[in-house]
């Protein structure tokens, strides 16, 4: 009998903690956020040779900023006609150096070509958000400027593709 009593008493003790546990419940709430891919060109600064005295050399620089937090592939969709200037005297093809810089003043990663179709530079994923500049430096020889007066204009088209 004593053994039975102890067993019953033990069961009774177990029942009471179960009642206490029933007083406490747990739930959970999900929290979430999505970090955007940043990939956008900013406002370009035109490459402008300005007013040139005929038969003198001229230089100019232009750039367009790009903000990104992913890798990028640069290409020049217009290939050989990139940056050609057309005007009253016909077409002038400046010589260019081009590439990407961390500031708008200096190229740190050069394009493989400034006048070729296809990919000209691939940059990997940065450690964070970067603001870089696609820079074109143009030069005209004296012979090229010895032409008919007037306005000569063209376009440099650069394509940036997230990588």
């Amino acid at each position: 009998m004593n053994r039975s009593l102890r067993l019953i008493a033990a069961l009774g003790m177990l029942a009471l903690p179960a009642a206490a546990q029933a007083q406490s419940i747990t739930g959970s709430i999900a929290a979430s956020a999505d970090i955007a891919t940043v990939f956008s060109f900013g406002v370009p600064s035109a490459l402008n040779f300005g007013s040139i005295t005929p038969n003198t050399a001229a230089n100019a620089s232009g750039y367009i900023p790009l903000s990104r937090n992913v890798g990028v592939i640069y290409s020049l969709p217009d290939g050989a006609s990139t940056g050609q200037l057309t005007g009253p005297g016909g077409t002038i093809t400046p010589s260019y150096t081009c590439g990407v810089g961390s500031t708008n003043a200096a190229i740190t990663s050069a394009f493989s070509s400034c006048a070729a179709t296809g990919n000209v530079l691939t940059l990997g994923t940065p450690t964070g958000l970067v603001n870089e500049f696609v820079i074109f430096n143009g030069s005209l020889t004296a012979a090229q400027t010895n032409t008919a007066p007037g306005t000569y204009s063209g376009t440099i088209r650069v394509t940036a593709t997230p990588n």
């Binding site: 009642a19 747990t26 739930g27 959970s28 709430i29 999900a30 956020a33 999505d34 955007a36």
Partner: protein, 158 residues
């Protein structure tokens, strides 16, 4: 025979002890019903974004139903993470939680860092809402970040 007679009151006592929790669970139960997650949405790197308790589309909402007062404790995460372990820091401060009626009226503003006593009204249901602040770094990578806030509900004194 004598021993069986002695057992009867003990059985009665044992049955009584089982009957009490059964009664507590049916008439004194508390329910936690998640209604809406805390959603910061699309964030940019290098920014700080707060979700206020008044932001109906982004705040977390949990319905609590019961009769007697309960104490609500939150286990708050310090960050949201991607599956690969990248993190966005999370912070919570006083005023980032509130109790609302089911019609949306504010009953009280709460400090999610403290234990909060919740009283149920006549309709037995209140809405517990939670906001917070996410702080992204310039180096925060694109992706989907998640965390879970645990909600512990206890009857006072248990």
């Amino acid at each position: 025979m004598t021993s069986r007679t002695g057992l009867a009151p003990l059985f009665a006592l044992l049955l009584a002890s089982w009957a009490m929790p059964a009664g507590a669970q049916t008439t004194k139960s508390v329910s936690i019903i998640p209604v809406q997650s805390l959603s910061f949405g699309l964030l940019l790197p290098g920014h700080r974004e707060s979700v206020r308790t008044s932001d109906v589309s982004r705040r977390a909402v949990v319905a609590l139903a019961g009769d007697d007062p309960v104490d609500v404790t939150l286990v708050l995460p310090t960050a949201m993470e991607t599956p690969t372990g990248e993190r966005i820091r999370l912070s919570f401060s006083a005023g980032d939680a509130a109790l609302l009626t089911t019609s949306g009226s504010t009953i009280s503003t709460l400090d999610p860092l403290q234990v909060n006593r919740v009283q149920f009204g006549n309709d037995r249901t209140v809405l517990f809402v939670l906001g917070g602040t996410a702080v992204t770094a310039a180096t925060t990578r694109p992706g989907h970040y998640t965390a879970r806030v645990a909600l512990l509900v206890n009857r006072p004194g248990t």
